[in-house]
Symmetry: D2
Subunit: 312 residues, 4 copies
């Protein structure tokens, strides 16, 4: 994530322009504001703006004329209650805006979350950056043999080296050809003044999906937690999880009480099906239960045992 | 809109708690923050929070590392361009939150706008306020004879007096019975300790839709403008227009450049159908065109002539 | 739910017009099509149209060129898997449309679900029906003493009679005054030709929220299940649960495999918080655990014990 | 768009399975059902399912107990009225589902329309098809010199040949390396049984955005028209316009009255700003008006003159 000097200076400048406001302020999130938090080899997450704090949630839940907050433990009690009973609308009363740099194939997963506002850097209008994602060798995983949608062991030796060689060479080659077709370099310097270049909206189609794009992304707190519950989860692809983990840290700084409730009721929670609940009741009563007796499929049984820290 | 002393003091208290922030600040909107702006006889609009200013729109449109703003006239040029070409996503990067008190029948129109976050005062959980809407005599209009969905002349004399008498008496009566069924008054004071009262979620069903409710309502700038373009329009019911007009004033304070573009391209704009555009071209060429020649229905022709300030 | 002869005949007529289609057909739902399913004293739910069946879910999950279905138990296995792992997008590929008649105070809860399409009968444009909801005596519950948002014991004797008397008399009175202000009756017959009537959009404000309204409501299967999981739940107000129960029956006819998965993983499921999961693991290991040791609030502990069918 | 024999036979099979339904049927759209309509070099649009016809719009607008339709010209009058006055909810009562094959860079533009349901072929789960988009020589346009987001003249001769050579060679090379990294070919045949392959979710990152993906995409009629108004417009990139044009033909078959209203009021319509309307009024009055007098920017003036078929 090497910023240009101009970019670094623009960010630094924003961090000096303190203003006065009557709005709710989150001091810990102010500390993070504008600063790029690095993710993967060239990506970042920057918090650009926010609306509300934990106080805004209790204020809205109480449809209050003033701050609406009471003692900290009463506020926490209310927030826990709202989280537990899926009263989601008060959490929608907070909003956060990020500037994110991420590989295109991750952007394609990310954009499936529709309840957000997005403004993406346009490859029709502008020249794409010469930055592409190459996985760290530890992330060079083989296809999982048991989960069609997952990773297995890490590749090693010559095979790993060959993969990295391919990814790098093809990315470098693709960008060079992108420039050649446009008849200009990344900075827009024209190669041959006697020729026009291919339209940017066409030339970009040569770039692989490991190239980085960037966007402004704005979402309310409820939908952010929904996003994080899916994307910080172990089933998510590692590369998007890397972003979700950084955003979890921002969440903690922003709304610490809500963060705690989220970790307790959502991230650390366990969902039991009717059959699963029946198995749990029998186990608590001291019965032995097997997968065959449970009426559950093997996969579901394995998931239940894992979630209860029991041997499958 | 008589606030209780407690409410007034909570609001006053919030207006004294100035904090420091690195975020974008709208000084003119800060002036309005928290203060109730009166609407109708007991309603209000209070701006509770906001995210972003005109600068946030150009920042997002440029996917900028810093503020993204240039000279004021360049920013205005960009905002005009975005508005004209329906590039709506940069406007979604600003957000505003209101506390609104409004009659239930207006709340029912309002809520049809789905792209907003809402937290409403709950008549299941709490006792409804004893406040109901009675139209000003100037608003006591007869059913329009030409528009099934509109108002005609103002009622006068005995008929007007009778309407006001009915509305007031029925509202007073409905609330008295609401209290009687709940066995307590507006403040929760129990009438007869030997009895329980009807559940609030049932008792409320006796209240007519001119009673006031209140909610926190949060929306992004793009969708706010869409709401205002429909609800500040002459076809909207007067009572919701009264709210939209107050919100237009808040819009002007918040994002003055966007407000100007909105007034020029949306509120003051004219939409021509293909047939309408054809008529306009012929009129400019100096031809006489009649409704019969236009291929348009009478209603459509009348609307076109009105929008061009021509005699029907 | 007394239909007029015209309404009954229009519905009967629609049930005779059988057409040929290449689309997916749900025979059991075709049986229900158009027929009003009664709810409360004057309400109904009518299924008007639908798109897709269980087959459409597996077809979309497989992004198939053909039907995409395999053996029934393979399809059921896939649908269970999708439900369990919150892969919600294939369920969005089915759609259903209802015509619903319901009291305004229920419509106000209902409309909070924003991911649906709605077309409501307009009280600005048309005269409202003279139909209002009066609870069955068994539903005349007192305010709950432990849950601010719930019902306690049923009211009896004179108190119950008085509540019913109030509700009926005020409804009859409100409608009579509605007609008087409009200067016409429910059918539009004018009372006094020498006078105009108050605009419908104003006169309606005198009607209490127990009056019936009606709308067309269209939603995808994923969001319908979300709606039902909240509104067929024991915490929902009885009157909206009555609608949800009827819609559950339609769901079962429409997509029987999905219905079964929904009942197992959602309606009959149990969500454990991190603390709750920890308690369950200790209980399974044979430990005694008390609320005090659990780190949970009393309310949360009570809910956990209830969900595990254990004594609090 | 060469289908495999299996795919062709699955589609043919679906076109023979006629069922009986009481639902609204669109005979002209039934003719198109399931059949791939070719777009670009390997893409297609297939209509998979639909709900409602023009009749469903008037039925919902009238909140009808029966079909709700009257004479054809009355229905058309109502649909025109709804379209003209932006009464959008009745159009939301129809729904359509497509299976679409399209290049990734077009999918990335397309997905920005959030009010749709999407199920995309997963490159985590499955092997991507060996199909990539190569523009027809007529579409090999240079970057526009006046519009940063557009195309200029068509490239010719050696330069055009070189662009095509690059695009083809890089695509072929990228896919060969994709297979090599996965250690299997497109059909899943393993190259070297002694090795595992790189996880599919990683290997795919080598593929450029001109590779084809596919999805099921479902949307209501109102939002489809919004999509088409933006994507069948001359400002849209040619490649997405090619899809929009095919979908316009499906729209015409499906809901012919609505299609006509859409073409008249939306696609063929002209939006005038307040300044533009003022210019038009002066032109009709016979005045000469120049850009300088108009208060409009040069770009806006040029757009106005173009829309009125006047010389700039």
């Amino acid at each position: 994530m090497p910023l240009t000097p101009e970019q670094a200076s623009e960010i630094a400048s924003q961090r000096t322009q303190k203003g006065a406001t009557l709005r709710d302020v989150s001091p810990a999130l102010e500390e993070l504001l504008y600063t790029p938090l690095p993710v993967l080899d060239h990506g970042f997450v920057r918090v650009i703006d926010y609306m509300g704090t934990d106080a805004a949630i209790v204020q809205a839940a109480r449809v209050s004329y003033g701050k609406g907050t009471k003692k900290v433990n009463e506020d926490a009690g209310l927030i826990n209650y709202l989280m537990r009973h899926r009263h989601t609308t008060p959490f929608e009363m907070c909003e956060i805006k990020f500037h994110i740099k991420l590989p295109i194939f991750i952007a394609r997963q990310w954009i499936r979350h529709r309840t957000a506002n997005v403004n993406e850097y346009s490859g029709r209008y502008s020249i794409m950056d010469k930055e592409f994602y190459i996985p760290h060798p530890e992330q060079l995983a083989a296809q999982s043999q048991i989960n069609r949608q997952g990773r297995g062991d890490v590749l090693e030796g010559a095979q790993a080296a060959r993969v990295l060689e391919i990814l790098k060479a093809d990315s470098v080659n693709a960008y060079a050809h992108y420039e050649e077709m446009m008849n200009c370099d990344e900075a827009g310097n024209i190669f041959d003044e006697s020729k026009t270049g291919l339209a940017r909206e066409l030339a970009r189609m040569n770039l692989p999906v490991n190239f980085y794009t960037q966007w402004y992304w704005k979402i309310d707190l409820h939908n952010l937690m929904h996003f994080l519950s899916l994307r910080a989860d172990g089933h998510a692809q590692y590369e998007i999880r890397a972003y979700a983990d950084v955003m979890l840290a921002a969440l903690k700084a922003w709304v610490p009480i809500t963060y705690q409730a989220f970790m307790d009721y959502r991230m650390g929670g366990v969902s039991l099906s009717a059959k699963g609940a029946s198995v749990v009741k029998r186990l608590i009563a001291g019965e032995k239960v097997t997968q065959e007796q449970s009426g559950m499929s093997k996969g579901e049984w394995r998931e239940l045992m894992t979630s209860l820290s029991l041997p499958a």
